[in-house]
């Protein structure tokens, strides 16, 4: 991988990555089982440069804000690279928000340019709020022929020949404004610097390296911090390949594993649970003797991987399970919501480690991650290199608010000095999450500080714990009684 200590900005690091591995495949886009696009680093560079030349001719300057609202696809990454190369500030917005919410955040971010997928722009065009948003230029992807775009340009046609200008940025310059929440009264735009991303990338790839030949399956939205890092920046600075799947349907996700020999993927707990259900159903269909044999092999694998994950050995012991996942899968990453330990254990016993982690947008991407040395299904892992965590005002059980100090922590909240001052105190970011460390420095989470209930007897009750107990009971789903 590139030595990221040598760089001051993402644009320069990505630029050198494109030059270093020109013939490696960097991006595959698949719609269901139809492969739509395959780009080498050299192809990617050519596409992005023509786009950037046209953007610079339209007056894109260093520090200008450019919003992207798209589902996962190649044009997302091509556009993001062009923005960074031209010294722009990326504002990645969640495509799942409503048109009104999109327009509110565009206004709040003061984005000068917008790059948006057609079906989202179509909805925004119908909103009366559109007239309140002042943007210099809108590029729309995949617009059908002949439709009215209300003055926007077609992304596919917006390109110019000629050399775009590279605009260097310093480590402390703003790379992205990422909204962590607050589409209502108080938008929370996390202002993240180039240093934040470069340091986060170094920390993550120290534990989970990419290299040419590695294929990362990207199904989490790229606007989210985790996919932006492990589904774009991380693989690119290591010469690896990102596979975009434009559907979340389980049958095509499963197919993508084998089709593209996936090495890593990130997924939300719901998708993980769905994969578990599918596998368990398949195991149930096996004849009794084969199921017995499988269970014995799973038990043996569990025994042999007690101290650390040994994916190579697991592939030999359980070849049919691993071939269903393409035979190259090394790990899956999850976080962001509660993951049942039994689900993590299920996959680990099959030799498919699922690295459960913890992070928040304000602190880059991930703060802790499981490293499988040994596997711990009951924690969210240990702090990544360069991340300092501490528990503030711990109670008798050692539980308190988690605070973080690291080079990955955001600069501030956009246009909100008051909230920034409440959140970053003496260099420590107060996460609002409750946790404690166990004897081996693994972090255990106990919910959000604001959710905590203190009983009359002074006992702290965490709603998440109650939900966990209830979720295990019959006739209960997602912490609510089924009617």
């Amino acid at each position: 991988m590139l030595d990221l200590t040598q760089y001051t900005c993402l644009g320069a690091a990505l630029r050198d990555a494109l030059d270093r591995w020109p013939n490696e495949t960097c991006l595959i886009e698949s719609d269901r089982d139809r492969e739509k696009l395959r780009l080498t680093y050299s192809d990617f560079k050519a596409l992005a440069r023509r786009l950037l030349r046209a953007l610079q001719d339209a007056d894109l300057k260093g520090g200008d804000r450019v919003a992207i609202i798209m589902t996962n696809q190649s044009k997302w990454l091509v556009s993001a690279y062009a923005i960074f190369y031209g010294g722009g500030v990326l504002v990645p917005l969640d495509y799942k928000l409503s048109p009104v919410e999109h327009l509110q955040l565009l206004a709040h971010s003061k984005a000068k340019f917008l790059i948006v997928e057609y079906y989202l722009w179509r909805a925004m065009m119908q909103s009366p709020e559109l007239k309140n948003v002042k943007m210099q230029l809108v590029l729309v992807t995949e617009a059908p022929a002949g439709v009215d775009l209300a003055g926007a340009y077609r992304w596919e046609e917006f390109r110019r020949k000629g050399e775009p200008a590279f605009v260097n940025r310093q480590k402390e310059d703003v790379a992205c404004i990422v909204y962590s929440s607050g589409t209502g009264g108080r938008p929370k735009g996390c202002v993240l610097t180039h240093e934040n991303y470069l340091e986060q990338c170094r920390a993550l790839t120290a534990w989970y390296p990419f290299w040419p030949g590695v294929a990362y399956l990207s199904i989490l939205p790229t606007n989210h911090a985790i996919d932006f890092m492990v589904g774009f920046v991380g693989p690119f600075v290591c010469g690896a390949c990102v596979v975009h799947l434009r559907t979340l349907r389980p049958e095509y996700v499963r197919d993508a594993f084998t089709r593209y020999k996936i090495t890593y993927m990130s997924l939300v707990p719901m998708v993980l649970k769905n994969l578990e259900r599918g596998l368990r159903a398949k195991f149930e269909e096996l004849p009794k003797s084969k199921r017995f044999q499988l269970n014995r092999l799973i038990g043996l694998n569990r025994l042999l991987t007690q101290r650390r994950a040994r994916v190579g050995l697991s592939r030999i012991l359980l070849p049919q399970v691993h071939s269903a996942f393409g035979g190259q899968l090394r790990a899956m990453f999850t976080g962001g919501a509660f993951v049942e330990p039994s689900t993590l254990q299920f996959f680990y016993d099959l030799g498919i480690p699922v690295a459960n982690g913890y992070g928040l947008t304000e602190a880059g991407t991930a703060l802790t991650l499981n490293d499988f040395r040994p596997f711990r299904s009951d924690t969210v892992g240990k702090p990544l290199p360069g991340i300092e965590l501490r528990v503030l005002n711990p109670d008798a059980e050692g539980i308190g608010e988690i605070a973080v100090r690291s080079k990955t922590v955001m600069s501030h909240y956009l246009d909100d000095p008051e909230l920034t001052a409440q959140t970053i105190v003496d260099g420590w970011l107060l996460t609002g999450d409750l946790g404690r460390f166990d004897g081996s420095r693994h972090l255990q989470l106990f919910g959000r500080k604001k959710n905590m209930i203190v009983t009359e007897g002074g006992k702290n009750i965490y709603p998440e714990d109650i939900e966990t107990v209830f979720d295990g009971l019959p006739r209960i789903t997602s912490g609510r009684r089924r009617t």
């Binding site: 799942k96 079906y119 979340l248 389980p250």
Partner: protein, 80 residues
Amino acid sequence: MPSPNQTLREVLDLAAAHFKVPREKLTPDDDFFKTLGIDSLQALDLLTRLEQHFNVELPDYELQGVSDFRTLADRIQARR
């Protein structure tokens, strides 16, 4: 081309059969996540079943923001 009402009826029939709930429990304006007790992945699964039946292709985004049978049927009707 079948009428929008016919499409809606078939959507309700298929949803009831797919998730094994009594057909009479489903009405066009029901929130199908609540009525069927399903998550978004299971809703995508239903979308696949509807595609097969109506012989249309519905991108995942057609389901974004859609939670009632009537709107879902409208989206299908638009692509028939």
